[in-house]
């Protein structure tokens, strides 16, 4: 049975401005289905984005939305969550937005373990501004600023989030829309900071310079590089070069050993903050008497 996306969209703004075959559309659909799985009221959702191709998403979604400055989506979202802890805050961000200019905000939001869900659409480039190389462009690939091939090593966003202290981390790709829906639903259910990375295609800016200028070959390129996490655990680092490791990096049950469970969060931030408010109120009441 078809899903009714119209319920969550501003239909007068559709068709959207993303390129034909853009992976962001697939991720957005997965996210709308995940929101529907939760059964939340539209007024209880706050939807935040930064700058980039993904930043257009709040314009199309019919709930409380906020389009913020480049890289600062997480800071605005943290403010919303602390002022209104009952709201469900979702951030839709790109790889440049979350890990390059907003990298600092990203690791500190992970450290605080504040109850928000971050969806990172990783398309390996800065699509909106003309295809410059981003922190996730694989080594050897050409972009408009690396005409002879990129030499910068890449960030693994999932491992970065895990090490910084996020309490739910998962990654899938645009080829698996249903898996993305499952992971985002789990992230929304989870109490604490959850990061879901969706590897997407940008054939217009990234693919065109690397001999995959149409959506089909770009999606195939992503599909051939996917490795499930369980399989990747027993593989050597050299084999995993230029691969996309998919799966749940941290799920509900924390793992046992110290190194695997490194920096596992102690508490959720808004709850701890509520405790501080109560403490301060008690103290001021005591002083007034």
């Amino acid at each position: 049975m078809a899903f009714e996306y119209e319920k969550y969209l501003r239909m007068d703004k559709i068709p959207h401005l993303w390129c034909p075959g853009c992976g962001i559309g697939v991720v957005l659909k997965a996210m709308l289905r995940a929101i529907d799985n939760m059964g939340w009221d539209k007024n209880d959702i706050a939807f935040v984005s930064g700058i980039g191709c993904t930043s257009r998403a709040p314009g199309y979604i019919d709930c409380n939305t906020l389009h913020t400055t480049h890289g600062r989506a997480l800071t605005f979202a943290t403010g919303i969550k602390m002022a209104k802890p009952a709201k469900h805050v979702i951030i839709f961000s790109g790889d440049g937005d979350a890990t390059a200019i907003g990298g600092n905000h990203f690791i500190h939001a992970c450290r605080r373990n504040i109850d928000m869900t971050l969806v990172v659409v990783n398309n390996n480039t800065y699509g909106m501004t003309g295809g410059q190389h981003s922190p996730t462009t694989p080594i050897g690939y050409k972009t408009s600023t690396t005409s002879y091939g990129n030499i910068d090593p890449t960030f693994d966003i999932c491992l970065l989030a895990k090490a910084a202290g996020a309490s739910y981390v998962a990654r899938s790709t645009v080829n698996k829309g249903k898996v993305l829906e499952k992971y985002i639903t789990k992230g929304l259910e989870h109490k604490g900071f959850s990061v879901i990375v969706a590897t997407a295609n940008c054939h217009t800016q990234f693919g065109r310079k690397n001999k995959m200028g149409d959506p089909i070959s770009s999606r195939k390129w992503i599909e051939t590089r996917e490795i499930p996490l369980d399989k990747a655990r027993n593989m050597k680092a050299a084999e995993l070069e230029d691969k996309i490791i998919t799966g749940e990096f941290i799920s509900e049950e924390p793992e046992q050993t110290y190194w695997e469970n490194y920096n596992h969060p102690i508490h959720e931030y808004t709850e701890a903050y509520q405790g501080i408010i109560e403490k301060a109120q008690k103290k001021s009441e005591g002083e007034n008497k």
Binding site: Y5, L9, I14, G25, V174
Partner: protein, 91 residues
């Protein structure tokens, strides 16, 4: 038919009686031509070649899609999940 079909009037429609395994079923495919950008993802993901690319002079890359034979559909919903432009509805 138990479920309600909610396809807007401006969508193109194809209907067919299909058989999934031994189960008899009915499929209605809705397609919004004005919203379609002709990326061809539905043609690629479909395991049964239900969709095909046709020429369209009014589109930027000169192509849109259409259903060749709705009776081939197995309701796997891959095209609906993977269409980035909210153009396909299957009931």
């Amino acid at each position: 038919m138990s479920e309600k079909i909610n396809i807007p009037d401006h969508y193109r429609r194809w209907e067919a009686d299909i058989k999934i395994g031994k189960k008899e079923d009915h499929v209605t495919i809705g397609y919004w031509r004005d919203g379609c950008k002709g990326c061809g993802i539905c043609v690629d993901v479909c395991p049964k070649q239900v969709w095909e690319i046709i020429e369209a002079k009014d589109k930027w890359n000169g192509q849109v899609v259409q259903v060749t034979d709705a009776a081939k559909c197995i309701k796997c919903m891959l095209c609906e999940v993977h269409c980035p432009d909210f153009c396909i509805k299957i009931y």
